[in-house]
């Protein structure tokens, strides 16, 4: 049977105006970094240089924290919740108005498919600002006591996998609770955060309430360790999370950490098979697998193993890898050369340890950073690909016989961020959900996010929750 081929359907880049260089956003102004070390941000799909960005040193971070402190003391702290809410509603609206532009910018800088940045990331960003805007004048009803108070200055460090969404997760609740923020976006994906700085200006947000300092690990460290930061929020790897937990030890800083995961996606023999295959694909190949809660360990009941694997491979053959700005693209570019090297290394280790590697035939673009969707079978629990976070489009498949065995294997990890359950049996879903030691359990669905829904991990996946009333609580002293 002949197949219909997709014609290319690229999203226009014309909607985005990228400057050749950017400063730091401090106290409502774009300013040059004092030590002036610029770095380049590239499109991972083409390795084209998009812009030059400033690296903030300790002096710049200090300046940003001072601006945030002043804004907290003089403007944002004393402001009525009602007015703070209005600013947040304004920001939410501006994001909606500029949604197209932000989605293109995000896909250019991050490499994720436009389908995802347009339909998932940016709508959720706006939704988060809308949700938390409504909390700003209702803090006394948030169930954290009758006198909830903001911590003060929040230092926030976010990763490169959902640059704008993570910004929203951090900034929206912080501002709603009355904190001011200094945010450091990831060094490979700073552009939407800088666009957000412009949005803050369009919203007439008072200077210093939001400050954006770009840079890499050292900038983040200077921010987290700054003595005048009251609250630290970090999303990223467990190793960096550990380092942050150590560095704030003995201080009075409040901390929330959203760290790594190695989610089990558990398929029972009575699972609704079509939805399950889609769920597995969505679970691991969404955003190139650059998702801390990705369903990277597939646990399949032995009785349906052959059918599930056969169908999964057939489905994987239809995945389109390529230009992130093409609306047909399912899997975009790996975010950086370094990340690609890490995925390659761990995949090689998977092969070396005896697991069987399979990828559909797919042509990868000549330039840029690419990795085909990959599945490993014959994986045992001791294999590194079953234990370590790969953070790429790589799925490890294990099997089980009984629900108890599935629970045992699913929980056999130091992580505890998320899990998936696929079965038609309601009582089994609820039993499994009870047994799994994970902060988010998706039953017959996967990778769903919503501003009203708390998200966060058990064990070494971090502490604190983001989203919902609980996400607000993390920004209030009580």
């Amino acid at each position: 049977m002949s197949r219909f081929e997709y014609a290319p359907a690229p999203e226009s880049r014309a909607i985005v105006d990228i400057k050749s260089s950017y400063g730091l956003f401090i106290n409502g102004q774009f300013v040059d970094a004092t030590d002036g070390k610029p770095f380049k941000t590239v499109s991972p799909a083409s390795e084209e240089v998009l812009a030059e960005v400033s690296e903030a040193g300790p002096a710049d971070v200090d300046k940003a924290v001072r601006a945030a402190r002043k804004a907290f003391d003089k403007v944002w702290g004393p402001m009525s919740g009602k007015d703070r809410a209005k600013y947040l509603f304004r920001i939410a609206r501006l994001i909606q108005e500029r949604a197209r532009e932000l989605a293109v910018l995000e896909s250019l800088d991050n490499g994720k498919p436009i389908r995802e940045s347009r339909d998932v990331d940016i709508p959720l960003v706006a939704a988060h600002f809308f949700y938390y805007a409504g909390w700003a004048d209702k803090l006394e009803y948030a169930g954290v006591g009758d006198d909830p108070r903001p911590w003060g200055v929040a230092g926030q460090v976010i990763p490169w996998n959902f640059p704008m969404l993570m910004l929203a997760w951090k900034i929206a609740p912080a501002l709603a609770a009355g904190n001011t923020v200094v945010l450091k976006p990831a060094e490979t994906t700073p552009l939407t955060a800088l666009a957000f700085a412009e949005i803050c200006r369009q919203a007439d947000l008072p200077p210093g309430v939001v400050n954006i300092v770009t840079g890499a690990g050292h900038t983040g460290q200077a921010l987290v360790e700054h003595p005048d930061v009251d609250k630290v929020a970090f999303t990223g790897s467990t190793d960096v999370g550990r380092a942050i937990a150590r560095s704030v030890a003995g201080t009075r800083k409040a901390v929330t950490l959203e760290l790594g995961g190695k989610a089990a996606n558990i398929v029972f023999e009575d699972a609704p098979i079509d939805q399950t295959i889609e769920g597995i694909v969505n679970g691991i190949f969404f955003n190139q697998g650059h998702v801390c809660c990705a369903g990277s360990r597939l646990l399949v009941q032995e009785s349906v193993y052959d059918e599930v694997l056969g169908r999964l491979k057939r489905r994987m053959e239809t995945l389109r890898v390529g230009d992130p700005l093409d609306k047909n693209t399912d899997i975009g570019a790996i975010n950086s050369a370094a990340q690609l090297a890490k995925i390659r290394e761990l995949s090689q280790i998977g092969e070396d340890e005896g697991a069987e590697r399979w990828s559909p035939e797919c042509e990868l673009p000549a330039n840029g950073f690419w990795f085909p969707p990959t599945v490993f079978t014959g994986v045992s629990q001791a294999h590194r690909i079953a234990r370590e976070e790969i953070f790429g489009p790589v799925l490890s498949v294990l099997t089980f016989r009984t629900p108890a065995e599935a629970v045992e294997k699913a929980n056999n990890t130091p992580f505890g961020l998320s899990a998936g359950i696929w079965t038609e049996k309601g009582s089994r879903i609820l039993w499994m959900a009870n047994q799994l030691r994970a902060g988010v359990v998706w039953a017959n669905t996967f990778n769903r996010f919503d501003p009203t829904s708390p998200f966060g991990g058990y064990k070494e996946s971090g502490y604190g929750r983001e989203g919902g009333r609980h996400g607000l609580e993390a920004y209030l002293a009580h």
């Binding site: 999370g241 009203t452 829904s453």
Partner: protein
């Protein structure tokens, strides 16, 4: 019949550790002298070692699954039972608190009253936590999405040094009511009420291993608990030195333990929710809605 009966020679109590529902001496064979507030000898207490701490963590981990799986109603009943059994030992607790803390027997009785009342207060929380802390989340899509609190796991507690019974109660009760299990290091100078509390646990339908009480030095045992990979949370309220607390926090970062930092606390005051929520994880479950 003898007319001048000599006073009865009392049977003195041997104070031991409470680990896994049993009362062992320290595996190290060590004990230390416990004096009253005036410096008079009261007893020898077991001086728990690093190995005792590890044994206690093993016991707490073993007990976690079963305790956590109990219904909230049942856990509430068991906590209330602790209060009932303490009531029966009121005199003993009062004597030990008075001797250790150097307060009058009248004041000590008030402390014991407050401790018992605190168990009753926390007992009532068992089946209310999920309603107060949990939620059904109105997500923008056809999904049923709810969040429920769950116990964090094994909680290590370095108990207050001054408040030997009320302080200890105030840190153990909020941890276990939600299904956590506890390894507590008692006040070093005033360990006797803690040992007696262990005896209450053993006779209050609290499954062995749910609460483990070590007498000894928090400075000595604390680092082993803080760095233990199978401890999920640690309460540092009994650590006085800032340097020590910092070092313990650094050690706790190894497996990203939830850390409760030391703070000046008024143990007589209403405790609010913060100690309860400190040892909770929130689990969010999504399911599609459709026909």
């Amino acid at each position: 019949m003898p007319t001048n009966e000599t006073p009865r020679l009392e049977v003195r109590k041997t104070y031991k550790l409470y680990v896994g529902g049993a009362f062992p001496r320290s595996e190290s064979g060590r004990s230390y002298v416990v004096n009253n507030a005036k410096g008079k000898f009261l007893a020898n207490a077991s001086q728990a070692s690093r190995k005792d701490a590890r044994d206690a963590v093993v016991a707490a981990r073993m007990a976690f699954g079963g305790w956590h799986a109990r219904t909230a109603y049942n856990r509430g009943q068991v906590l209330y039972r602790i209060a009932e059994v303490m009531e029966g030992r009121h005199q003993q607790f009062s004597t030990e608190v008075a001797a250790g803390e150097g307060i009058s027997i009248g004041k000590a009785r008030a402390v014991v009253d407050a401790s018992i009342d605190r168990w009753v207060w926390y007992a009532g929380w068992a089946d209310k936590l999920a309603q107060v802390v949990g939620s059904s989340n109105p997500v923008a899509g056809p999904y049923f999405d709810f969040s429920l609190p769950e116990a964090t796991g094994v909680v290590a507690v370095l108990a207050p040094q001054d408040s030997s019974l009320l302080g200890l109660t105030s840190v153990i009760a909020p941890a276990i009511v939600s299904g956590n299990t506890v390894v507590a290091v008692s006040s070093y100078e005033r360990p006797l009420p803690a040992v007696t509390l262990g005896e209450v646990m053993a006779t209050s339908d609290v499954p062995g291993g749910v609460v483990n009480i070590l007498t000894g030095s928090a400075s000595e045992i604390g680092p082993w608990l803080a760095s233990h990979q199978d401890v999920n949370a640690i309460d540092l309220c009994g650590v006085a030195s800032e340097d020590e607390a910092r070092d313990l926090e650094i050690a706790a970062a190894g497996n990203l333990k939830r850390v409760r930092r030391p703070a000046d606390e008024d143990w007589t005051a209403d405790q609010g929710l913060s100690r309860l929520t400190q040892y909770l994880e929130l689990k969010t479950v999504w399911h599609p809605i459709g026909v």
